[in-house]
Each structure stands twice: as structure tokens, then as C-alpha cells.
């Protein structure tokens, strides 16, 4: 199956989506929190931004990220005829 160009293209796009998603995950799971000291200088609605990102902001990004990923991956499946039969 992998030998057909269609299958190779399918796996290439799946892999790219995986890396994209993991980059976003890394940024919000780790990278932004390196800058907590600077971000805490900014206060929005009482929340120091650095604290907010760890307490809520990154979590919201994770939830949206997974739904976005799953919609995107479903589209890739369908475009390459790899989706499940109904």
C-alpha cells in the first residue's frame, strides 16, 4: 500500500501534521512558560499573563489543538481515500 504514490503522499501529509501539532504543543506546553517572569508584567483582568498561560491559556490551546488536529487528519484521510467506510 505504501508503494503507491497516493499512499506515500498520504503518509507524508500525516507526518507533517504530526510535526506541526507537536510544535504547537511544545510552544504552549513549555516554551511560553520559559518567559513567565516577563509575561507576569502584563496583567489582564487581574491575571498576570505568565500565571494565566499556565493556569488556563495553554489548556485552552491544547483542547482546540486536538479538535483542530482531528478535523485536519480526517480531511487528509478523505482526500486520499484512506477514511473508514461508513
Amino acid at each position: 500500500m505504501q508503494s503507491t504514490p497516493m499512499a506515500e503522499e498520504y503518509w507524508r501529509r500525516t507526518r507533517n501534521l504530526m510535526w506541526t501539532t507537536l510544535v504547537v504543543w511544545f510552544v504552549f506546553g513549555f516554551l511560553v512558560h520559559f518567559f513567565v517572569g516577563y509575561l507576569n508584567e502584563i496583567v489582564i483582568f487581574g491575571f498576570p499573563l505568565g500565571f494565566y498561560m499556565a493556569a488556563q491559556g495553554s489548556l485552552i490551546v491544547f483542547v482546540i489543538l486536538i479538535f483542530w488536529f482531528s478535523a485536519k487528519q480526517n480531511r487528509i484521510d478523505e482526500e486520499h481515500g484512506m477514511a473508514e467506510e461508513e
Binding site: 504543543w25 512558560h33 488536529f69 484512506m82 473508514e84
Partner: protein, 610 residues
């Protein structure tokens, strides 16, 4: 309980939620008419456990695929709720807000770590294992890595991680039941055990799934209600997650004004400032271990085997995290409201005479009697006890250094802090019980299924009939439950640290071979065996060495983040050994290619499936 049941899920659970709310309101009315708190406590425990048990009995099954994967018919949304209940333990429900109270920003490592891992589950693991159609995680290891040796190592790692975790849940169940019913913790553990077994024994995964959905509904209502009311009282807006920003501001002001020499907050660590408790290395290492551990804990992964399709499995991870998020983004609000209450109404008060002490908020004494609140180093059982302890210590003003609360108190005491009737406190305890029971159910099933399916059926007697397999599965379930309860009773209190170790052990032992098994065709049997043993061994070595052998830590990394060393070792050893040995066969290459595309249905057929 056939497809009509699936079609009517929304109506059934809406009715259930409505009935539960009516039940709470009725109890509240009865309380006003003079129903004593003990009866309310009993009503909550008995009625909720009876409902869970009823669901368990209605969901009984004689089919193997129903028993192991709920017939693969659980819609994404409901699997999300079940996963959220499966995931959120007594520690999340009761303990986490208290950790945030004590640690401020640095406690948020748990919030980030226990949510971000779901991104890894969705992207790297769950859809592919669902496509394979495994009953258990070791099933997949056996198929991908040449048979029963990989299966056996997988089972050993699974049992090590899940059993200590199960023990923690049983202890949690015992503590909550004992507080609610006034029985001893040991009796509480066995009461909880009975509830867990009735839910899971007859219907396996199918029963656990529908019970966990019911438990999620109870626990999320119980978690949100007190803090929503408290937020409305203090800020006028019933959205604690939004309004605690103002509370944080107030906390920061009070800290700045009173933390100087002689101030009642002298020596306090600022709540919103990072890296007071953990240095950056430990903060990020803990996040990494918790995230990777989430993606490797078998009781979480196996929940995604129950969805009708690969597509639903992916979406279901999103729902799971959304339902978890609702609790986790509320926990810091609990911590902030509790801290403000302590700063404004408790600390800085005079301890000169019994009259002044007696005017402290009443929750201090209610929880002081249970030893959860300590003033001047002694349990704050009464105004006289506090006076005696503080006079002995020579303390005349209650300050930060002389006041401590047990982490569990923050969530439990909030109803009383808000001045709510006892029925709300009973509701919170029922929520904590639901959280502990649902996680214990999932863990118990993960262990018992690995023993009955992987060890008994796949390794000992592959010709066993359906009936025999299910009998063995149920006997093992009861056996594991009793073992867990015995360990929970026999174990010293400090053993709860094992729970956080489970994450590092799973992360290092299972994550590398699961991920490489899907994403790297070149990973082969010797590589995987070596990788599992090396990753798990490295982590266990660091844990045991630093905890018991007096081994110095490496780079100051605390042993709850032992996976920081084990995870890279697991990946590296699997990679190097795979490259040094022969590549997987052509058949294995085809197997991996089929694994990677959703089309084509599950890849394993169970000859005794029905």
C-alpha cells in the same frame, strides 16, 4: 441495552442528571427541616453507589468484545466523559487545589502536565492502537514486536504502574468514605471496594464505561457548585475561573504589604511568582514526565479502544481533554479563593485570649478536629486547644508560619467557607468518591484484563472457551481488587509518592516503544525489548536509588521526574539496538502500513469474539 440504548444516551443521561439535582434539592430541603448531617452523608454514599452498581448490573455481558472494549460502540462524546472520570482521581478532585494553594505558580506543573499529554495521545498513539483493534496495550506490543516476550514485559510494566496507582485510589476512597460515614479508613476501603467490584465485575469495560459517564456528571457538578456560589458571593459574578483574577490581585497586594519583618505574612512565597518551590529544571521536567506518562498509562489508552472508529477515537481525545479542562481550570480558582479567605479572615488575628480565638472562622475548628488544620503546630480542635498551643509556643498573633492546612482541606472546606448548608459538603464528598471510584474502576480493569487476556488467554490457554475466559477475567478482577485493598491497608501513608512515580515508569517503559512501533518501521523486536527494559530499568534505578539508597540526585532532578532520564534512554536503546539487528520482515512492514491508514476495519479478529 442494545442500539436503542446508544440512540437514547442523551435522554438517559439528561434524565439522570436532572434526577440527581432533584435529589440534592430534596436533601437540602430536608436538612432545613432538621435532617441530621450523618443521615445526609449516608444518603449520598448509599444512593450514588447504588446507582453506579445498578448501571454495572444492567450492563452485564457474556460477550468477550463487550467485556474488553464495550463492543466498540461508545460515541466520542461519551467516551470523553468516561475518560475524564477515568483520568481524574481523588488526587485531582480533592488534592490538586490544595497543592496550588500551597505551591502557587509552581503547582501549575501538575495542571499543565496532566492536560498536555492528551495532545500526544491524540496525535501519536490512540488512533493507531484503535485501528489495530487491541483489547489491551500488551496486545499491540505482542503483535508489533514478535510475540509473547514483548507482551510479558508490557504486562509487567503495566501491572507495576497501575497497581500502585490503584492502591492510591483505594486509600482515597477509604478516607472519603470514612469522613462521610464516620467509619474507619479500613472499613471505608472495603466499602469502596464493594462499590468498585459491583460496577465492573459483571460487565467489564462496558459497565465501567457507562458508570464512569455517570460518575463524571456527579463529580463535575460537585466540583463546580461550591466555588461558583463562593465566586458569586465575593465578586457578584458566578464565574470563578474568570473572577479569580481580581482575587489574585488582592492576594498580591496583601503579600506585598504584610510580608516584611514582623508582618503576618513574613517569609511567604508570592503566589503568582514562578520557581519558588521548584527550580525551572524540575518544573519543566515534571511537566514532561506527567505529559509523556499520560500518553503511556494503559488505563487511559485502553479507553480509546472502545470508540466505533478511528475517526471517533481522535475526536474522543478532544472531548476527554475538554471535560478534564473544566475541572482543571477551576482548581486554581479554588486555591485563590481559599488563600484570600485565609489572608483576610484568619491570619493577622490576635491569639491573646480564648474569646478572640473563638471569633476565627468556624471551618478552622471543624477541620481542626480532624487534624487537617494546625495552628502553632497543633491540631486546631477548639479555641482552648489553640490558646494552649500558642501560649506554649509564645505566639500572640496568628501568622503565616504558625498556620497550616492539609491540602485536602481547600476543596472540602469551601462549602463551609461560603457558609453553605451541609448538603453541599455532602455533595462535594460524593464527588470525591465518584472521582476515586471511577479511576479505581479503570485501573482495576486495566490490570485484570492484562492478566486474563494477555497472560491467561494468550500465553497459557489459547483454546479457552468464551465462558471460561470471562470466568477467569472475573476471578482475576476480584483477586486484583483484594490485593490492591490489602496493599492499601498494609502500606504506610508515605507510599502515596508511588502514584506520581507511576507516570515516570509508564513514560519511560511504554511510551518509546508505542510511538516508535507506529512511527518508525525499522523498530524491531530486539530493539523494543531492550528499549522497554532499559527505559523502565533506568527510571526504577533512579527512583529506588535516590529514595532508599541515599544516591545523590543528578543535576538536582527530584525523583518524581525520574522519567527525564528514563525516556531518552528508552528511545535511544530501542533505536540503537534496532539498527544493530535485522530489520522487521516484509510482513511486519505491511502490518505497519495497514496500521497507519484508518480504512479497512480492525486488524485482529478474535475467534471467540462472541
Amino acid at each position: 441495552m442494545r442500539d436503542a440504548f446508544i440512540a437514547n444516551l442523551g435522554r438517559i443521561y439528561a434524565l439522570y442528571t436532572g434526577t440527581f439535582l432533584v435529589f440534592v434539592v430534596v436533601l437540602a430541603v430536608l436538612e432545613q427541616m432538621g435532617l441530621p448531617p450523618t443521615v445526609i452523608g449516608y444518603a449520598f454514599v448509599i444512593l450514588t453507589i447504588a446507582v453506579y452498581a445498578g448501571i454495572g448490573i444492567l450492563s452485564r455481558t457474556a460477550q468477550v468484545s463487550e467485556y474488553y472494549v464495550a463492543g466498540r460502540r461508545v460515541p466520542a462524546l461519551y467516551n470523553g466523559m468516561a475518560t475524564a472520570a477515568d483520568w481524574m482521581s481523588a488526587a485531582s478532585f480533592i488534592g490538586m487545589a490544595g497543592s496550588l494553594y500551597a505551591q502557587g505558580y509552581d503547582g501549575l506543573a501538575f495542571i499543565l502536565g496532566w492536560t498536555g499529554g492528551y495532545v500526544l495521545v491524540a496525535v501519536l498513539i490512540a488512533p493507531y492502537l484503535r485501528k489495530f483493534g487491541a483489547y489491551t496495550v500488551p496486545d499491540f506490543l505482542a503483535a508489533r514486536y514478535g510475540g509473547n516476550l514483548a507482551r510479558l514485559i508490557g504486562v509487567i510494566i503495566l501491572v507495576c504502574c497501575s497497581l500502585v496507582y490503584l492502591m492510591g485510589q483505594l486509600t482515597g476512597t477509604g478516607i472519603i468514605a470514612s469522613r462521610l460515614l464516620g467509619v474507619s479508613v479500613q472499613v471505608g476501603i472495603f466499602l469502596g471496594l464493594a462499590g468498585i467490584l459491583v460496577c465492573s465485575m459483571l460487565g467489564g469495560m462496558r459497565a465501567v464505561t457507562w458508570t464512569q459517564v455517570a460518575q463524571y456528571i456527579v463529580l463535575i457538578i460537585a466540583y463546580l457548585l461550591p466555588v461558583v456560589i463562593l465566586s458569586a458571593q465575593l465578586t457578584g459574578v458566578p464565574l470563578p475561573q474568570l473572577m479569580y483574577g481580581q482575587v489574585l490581585q488582592r492576594i498580591t497586594e496583601l503579600e506585598a504589604a504584610n510580608s516584611g519583618p514582623g508582618g503576618y505574612l513574613e517569609g511567604i512565597k508570592a503566589h503568582v511568582v514562578a520557581f519558588n518551590v521548584r527550580d525551572p529544571l524540575n518544573f519543566f521536567a515534571l511537566i514532561l514526565c506527567l505529559m509523556v506518562g499520560t500518553a503511556a498509562l494503559p488505563h487511559v489508552i485502553m479507553r480509546f479502544f472502545t470508540t466505533p472508529s478511528v475517526r471517533e477515537a481522535r475526536k474522543s481525545v478532544g472531548w476527554s481533554l475538554l471535560f478534564i479542562f473544566i475541572l482543571y481550570f477551576t482548581a486554581p480558582a479554588y486555591a485563590a479563593f481559599a488563600k484570600l479567605e485565609v489572608f483576610e479572615n484568619v491570619l493577622g488575628r490576635s491569639l491573646e485570649d480564648a474569646g478572640a480565638i473563638a471569633s476565627l472562622p468556624s471551618w478552622i475548628f471543624s477541620y481542626g478536629q480532624a487534624g487537617l488544620v494546625k495552628v502553632c503546630g497543633e491540631a486546631a480542635a477548639s479555641a482552648d486547644a489553640v490558646l494552649a498551643a500558642c501560649q506554649a509556643a509564645g505566639v500572640s498573633t496568628l501568622d503565616f508560619a504558625n498556620f497550616s492546612i492539609h491540602p485536602d482541606t481547600v476543596v472540602i472546606a469551601t462549602p463551609e467557607i461560603a457558609g453553605l448548608p451541609y448538603v453541599i459538603a455532602g455533595l462535594v464528598a460524593a464527588g470525591g468518591l465518584a472521582a476515586a471510584l471511577s479511576t479505581a474502576d479503570g485501573l482495576l480493569l486495566a490490570i485484570a484484563n492484562a492478566l486474563s487476556h494477555d497472560v491467561y488467554y494468550q500465553m497459557i490457554d489459547h483454546t479457552a472457551s468464551t465462558k471460561r475466559r470471562l470466568i477467569v477475567a472475573r476471578i482475576l478482577l476480584v483477586g486484583v481488587a483484594l490485593l490492591g485493598a490489602w496493599m492499601a491497608i498494609a502500606a504506610p501513608a508515605g507510599i502515596l509518592i508511588f502514584v506520581s512515580w507511576a507516570f515516570s515508569l509508564a513514560a519511560a517503559g511504554l511510551f518509546p516503544v508505542l510511538v516508535l512501533g507506529v512511527w518508525w518501521k525499522r523498530a524491531n523486536t530486539p530493539g523494543a525489548l531492550a528499549g522497554m527494559i532499559a527505559g523502565f530499568g533506568m527510571t526504577a534505578f533512579y527512583l529506588v536509588g535516590t529514595q532508599y539508597m541515599g544516591m545523590p540526585t543528578w543535576f538536582g532532578v527530584s525523583n518524581i521526574s525520574a522519567g527525564l532520564f528514563g525516556i531518552p534512554v528508552g528511545f535511544a536503546v530501542c533505536w540503537i539496538v534496532s539498527l544493530m539487528t535485522t530489520p522487521p520482515s516484509r510482513e511486519m512492514q505491511a502490518f505497519i502500513e495497514a496500521l497507519r491508514v484508518p480504512r479497512g476495519g480492525v486488524m485482529v479478529a478474535d475467534k471467540h469474539a462472541d
